[in-house]
């Protein structure tokens, strides 16, 4: 491949970057091992199909095909078949909740570097509380966002719309990703107890992160654990502990700054 790479005159200084990247190819041993596992996986899939097809009488095959179509969306989430919770049930919780509360804990190099409480409701409103640092309230229905910086006791009200800067952490993109997750969710064999409840884990393979979502027998998500960085050298672990549809304070999504906070223009940093 290297020989076929066009000479990079049109790349300017980026050519050096491309050369560095191309000069660090995958290890042959890794490529060979991946190739072996690929061929084994294809053969395994072929055998399973062949054996299931041969054993099914023709009249049942048609019915099975119809049922298969109906169950198509659930198939990737039921490895090994059998009963128990399906990942689709777990996903449903993230789609249909009235309120979701999550405590997010981030650990780096074995030490806890932050804890943040997340509150969301079915209308898309979100509240983030990062201890003594800040509180964000985002209300897409009202089209406004409130930012409270607790250190300086300042408040900022921002209209939501094109061009408005919603902080990355306030967008809850991970929630959208779980709702839309179409990849492989492998159910783990291990059973654990969390908060006195029996939970099963689903390993989600997406985005290079090793994520495990733990849920009760009826599909209620309890904990999501995400290992950041490379599998070999994880940079940290993020854990979210969930609670669904519990009562919340009536003013949890209030966009009015507390009386003791000073409203500033142009953002808290401008103060």
């Amino acid at each position: 491949m290297n020989a076929a790479t066009p000479r990079n005159d049109e790349l300017g200084f980026i050519a050096d970057y491309v050369d560095d990247l191309m000069n660090r190819p995958a290890a042959d041993t890794d490529a060979a091992a991946a190739q072996r596992r690929l061929l084994a996986a294809i053969e395994d899939r072929r055998r399973k199909r062949a054996s299931s097809g041969a054993a099914v009488p023709r009249r049942w095959a048609a019915a099975a095909a119809v049922l298969g179509l109906l169950a198509l969306s659930a198939v990737p989430f039921l490895p090994g078949g059998g009963g128990g919770v399906a990942f689709a049930d777990v996903q449903r919780y993230f789609e249909q909740f009235e309120t979701m509360q999550a405590t997010m804990t981030v650990e780096t190099a074995g030490r806890e570097v932050m804890t943040m409480n997340i509150l969301a409701d079915g209308q898309g409103r979100t509240r983030l509380d990062a201890g003594e640092l800040f509180t964000f309230v985002i209300d897409p229905v009202a089209g406004r966002m409130l930012q409270l910086m607790h250190g300086s006791r300042t408040a900022l009200q921002v209209p939501l719309g094109p061009g408005s800067e919603v902080p990355d952490e306030a967008r809850l993109e991970w929630l959208e990703d779980i709702r839309a997750f179409q990849g492989e969710a492998r159910r783990l064999e291990a059973v654990r107890r969390m908060d006195g409840r029996e939970v099963r884990g689903f390993e989600l393979r997406t985005g290079g992160q090793a994520m495990v979502l733990w849920a009760t027998r009826d599909g209620e998500p309890v904990r999501l654990t995400i290992r950041q960085g490379d599998r070999e050298e994880p940079m940290g672990v993020t854990r979210l502990d969930f609670r669904f549809d519990e009562p919340i304070a009536s003013d949890a999504f209030s966009l009015d700054p507390p009386a003791t906070y000073r409203l500033v223009q142009g953002g808290p940093d401008a103060d």
Binding site: A65, E169, M235
Partner: protein, 188 residues
């Protein structure tokens, strides 16, 4: 509902005069797909995920309209790898941006050295530009494909590919040049 496999499903499992089986394709092109994905991702495990997804995906959704399997697979691997790269970047946002500096200060020296690596910087920049630009760039400069082949396989005109590549180089240049400029300004 017809209980028998469709011709395409049959093709996926068994070779015909016109088409190889997926197993034959994997034997012939599996490593190339792996390497194509690795160049974009720089991660053996992720490259293997892409490789498996592509060939096992062909078992589930057979393709009977492929003119050139090497080109098709190179594009499929690159596209999937770029998607993975972008998704990876997206998931990293789960950790608030203001925490990143805390991480940087606690990184061991070898990790800091890795952050300075240009290959890593290029992959990072690729994850931030438009997906189509990143795909065209990787196909052209990582996989060494000709403009005409990229255009044919992506269903674009050569001119469109050329413009997209030009934009990709410009976007990557901006992404990669800024940190360098800042360092020079700080040092002077």
């Amino acid at each position: 509902m017809h209980p028998q496999p469709t011709p395409l499903e049959t093709w996926a499992m068994e070779p015909t005069d016109q088409n190889p089986s997926v197993a034959e394709l994997a034997r012939a092109h599996g490593r190339r797909v792996y390497h194509a994905a690795y160049r974009v991702l720089g991660d053996a495990a992720l490259a293997e995920d892409v490789q498996q997804n592509i060939f096992l995906g062909l078992l589930e959704k057979p393709r009977g309209d492929v003119q050139s399997w090497p080109a098709y697979l190179a594009v499929a691997a690159t596209r999937a790898a770029v998607d993975e790269l972008r998704r990876r970047h997206r998931w990293s946002r789960l950790t608030p941006a203001w925490l990143e500096h805390l991480r940087d200060t606690s990184d061991p020296p070898e990790t800091l050295a890795m952050h300075e690596d240009r290959a890593l910087a290029l992959r990072g920049a690729l994850s931030r530009i438009r997906a189509r630009e990143a795909t065209c760039f990787a196909l052209r400069y990582f996989q060494g494909m000709e403009l005409a082949d990229i255009a044919r396989t992506l269903g674009l005109t050569e001119n469109h590919v050329s413009v997209t590549l030009h934009r990709a180089v410009k976007s990557l240049g901006a992404q990669l040049k800024d940190p360098q400029t800042n360092i020079e300004e700080t040092e002077s």
